[in-house]
């Protein structure tokens, strides 16, 4: 029983992190068909901001991280992705890969590649008991934060005018533009939102791992990509469910694989992606409007 609670907490907290990252990637993809590799660097830079402000109160440090990630997201959009908006998805994808590598190299160049330790929220590094099971408070908070954010984002998308415009743009961008949705505004807001999500992920992830280095965000981003693909690229619900699924599967593999096979855990997850793509090439929840018209 206690083992099950432990696994459930692990799975949901990991899945929550993946879901938030996948959502950040999915938001951008849904409005401009850009698979944004540079999302990893939004997380990394936000974590560096946390590190730079580590003496300050949490509110200060976290605001700094949000400002950092949002600014970076908006700047990359302006410099790299806006000029390429009419290019084909392949070029856009190579461009985002390039932006990602450029920021990584800049970080290595300016700050060095050595990991720096940080502990943004020391208060969370204790254990609490659920019944008789000891679980980490941080993981419970992670689950809570993910749930609240998902709820907030849903409300934003369903209840505000900007949310409506964004959903319209995701469904059919040209049509939305014709009905008066301002393309630039929607895309910038999408990038800013993905920046906020990245900052939250950075806080939770840095608190778990306890250090920051120039490639901090890369494994998260790659896994989140997988999650969006499984869920259905362009579908936000799909991104969240895909993220949770990947988290759950990873935790289960970690718990139940024979010990010699455990290091290969991620390989199994990625093999599952390829399988999932074969059965449903457009993901579990295919986005409307993604199908190409001829």
């Amino acid at each position: 029983m206690s083992g099950l609670v432990q696994i459930a907490v692990d799975a949901l907290s990991l899945g929550g992190l993946y879901a938030l990252t996948a959502l950040g990637i999915g938001l951008i993809f849904s409005v401009m068909r850009l698979a944004n590799f540079a999302h990893a660097e939004l997380v990394t830079c936000a974590a560096y901001a946390l590190f730079a402000l580590s003496g300050q109160p949490l509110v200060m440090a976290f605001s700094g991280a949000i400002v950092m990630a949002v600014a970076l997201a908006v700047i990359t959009e302006r410099i790299a992705f806006r000029p390429l908006r009419r290019a084909d998805p392949t070029t856009l994808m190579i461009a985002s890969f390039t932006v990602s590598m450029l920021i990584q190299k800049l970080l290595i160049f300016t700050l060095g590649s050595r990991p720096k330790s940080l502990d943004p929220v020391p208060a969370l590094s204790q254990a609490v008991f659920i019944g008789s099971t000891q679980v980490s408070l941080l993981k419970l908070v992670t689950i809570g934060v993910c749930a609240v954010l998902l709820l907030a984002l849903t409300l934003f998308l369903k209840r505000t005018s900007f949310g409506l415009q964004m959903r319209a743009a995701a469904e059919n961008f040209t049509m939305a533009q014709l009905t008066g949705v301002r393309a630039n505004a929607v895309i910038v807001v999408a990038f800013a939102l993905s920046g906020v999500l990245a900052a939250v992920v950075a806080l939770l992830f840095a608190a778990q791992s306890g250090f920051v280095q120039p490639r901090l965000g890369v494994p998260l981003m790659i896994t989140a990509f997988v999650a969006t693909v499984i869920g259905g690229m362009g579908s936000l619900v799909g991104a969240v469910i895909g993220g949770l699924l990947v988290g759950i599967v990873t935790t289960l593999l970690q718990a139940y694989l024979p010990p010699d096979l455990r290091p290969f855990r991620e390989a199994f997850v990625f093999a599952l992606v390829i399988l999932a793509l074969l059965v449903r090439p457009n993901g579990l929840f295919p986005a409307r409007g993604l199908k190409e018209r001829i």
């Binding site: 994808m93 190299k105 160049f109 290091p263 991620e266 793509l277 090439p281 001829i294």
Partner: protein, 346 residues
């Protein structure tokens, strides 16, 4: 007839001449420069391998570094002398520990193994297109990295595998680069490659004309994997040591950069892009060491890591302002054969 054939092969001959000329020049250069040239010739093999699939099909492929890794390890395991092999990898199966093929068989066996792997994994993946295919090949590269990095009994895991025969010199590298270019050129002159390029331009129209896109893509993928695997084996036997880390994101980015900078739609683009980027990296590396300004006694020095930043920035600039690369997707001397054909018709 002979003349027409010669015109048709003009791009190939020009590229071969370019590669041989560079090799000849490197032969009279100092050891350091000549080693850099060998490395860039090995890179030519890998970029051409990437081009065979990506250039002809237009589908983004991030898996070529994974195939390089597989080719490198297969070649190393089969050709390493028994002594170092027993020292670094004591847990190998007996038949593998005893295997010692001639060194030059390495790239071919490594390539063949990669081709077999590509055939198996490509069967499902080639049914995808666009971003799904890109993510799937990315996953493939990641799987290779994780499996090779953790399969300690076979690859040494995170520890470097040392003691490979370092037989790849200037002329070996040159021969393989010429071979890879010739294979790619021969392939792109076939009707299958022509049909595949048609599907690149318009997948639906190609399918409507009876082209079986998935099957043709698979063919190019397998051939590309063979060339990349051979390139990986050469890389390993040039360095003399193997680390899983050298087959991860950085080289993936480097190979894609080389192809895109040159122009991913032509073989000339693949070769030229590789050479230009290699030259640029070399200049930037010299800048990190320090370039003395003649006559002044001042040495210009860039900080370490500067070269990587410039390379990535340059790639971004090329994507923004010249997305079709230096060659714009044209072959060198590629218009000779075409103009000749037009004359025939008139």
């Amino acid at each position: 007839m002979m003349y027409n054939l010669l015109l048709r092969a003009a791009p190939l001959l020009a590229l071969v001449a370019l590669i041989v000329a560079i090799t000849l020049l490197a032969g009279i250069a100092d050891t350091v420069t000549s080693r850099r040239v060998i490395l860039s010739l090995v890179n030519v093999v890998c970029v051409v391998g990437l081009y065979i699939f990506m250039g002809n099909s237009g589908v983004l492929n991030f898996s070529s570094v994974g195939f390089m890794a597989i080719g490198a390890y297969v070649a190393a395991l089969l050709t390493m002398p028994a002594g170092p092999k027993a020292m670094f990898l004591p847990d190998l199966p007996i038949w593998l520990a005893a295997a010692e093929l001639p060194a030059l068989a390495g790239p071919f066996v490594g390539g063949l193994f990669c081709a077999a792997v590509a055939l198996v994994v490509g069967l499902p993946i080639m049914r995808l297109s666009g971003i799904a295919a890109a993510i799937a090949t990315f996953s493939l590269m990641f799987i290779c990295y994780i499996v090779l990095g953790n399969w300690t009994s076979m690859t040494g895991g995170q520890i470097s595998l040392m003691g490979l025969k370092a037989y790849v010199g200037l002329w070996t590298a040159c021969a393989f680069a010429v071979g890879a270019v010739a294979v790619a050129f021969a392939y792109q002159e076939t009707r299958w490659a022509l049909a595949l390029r048609a599907s690149r331009e318009d997948a639906v129209a190609a399918q409507a004309s009876g082209i079986q896109v998935a099957r043709l893509r698979l063919g190019a993928f397998v051939l590309g994997a063979f060339v990349c695997g051979a390139g990986g084996a050469l890389y390993g036997h040039f360095q003399g040591t193997l680390r899983v880390e050298s087959f991860y994101l950085d080289p993936t980015f480097l190979l894609v950069t080389m192809l895109v900078v040159g122009g991913m739609r032509s073989l000339t683009g693949a070769v030229v892009g590789c050479l230009v980027v290699s030259l640029l990296t070399e200049v930037l590396r010299l800048a990190e060491v320090g370039i003395p300004l003649p006559g002044t006694g001042i040495t210009l020095t860039a900080a370490a890591g500067f070269g990587d930043v410039v390379l990535a920035a340059l790639m971004l600039v090329i994507l923004l302002f010249r997305p079709n690369g230096i060659t714009g997707g044209r072959e060198i001397l590629g218009n000779l054969a075409r103009s000749e054909r037009t004359h025939d018709q008139i």
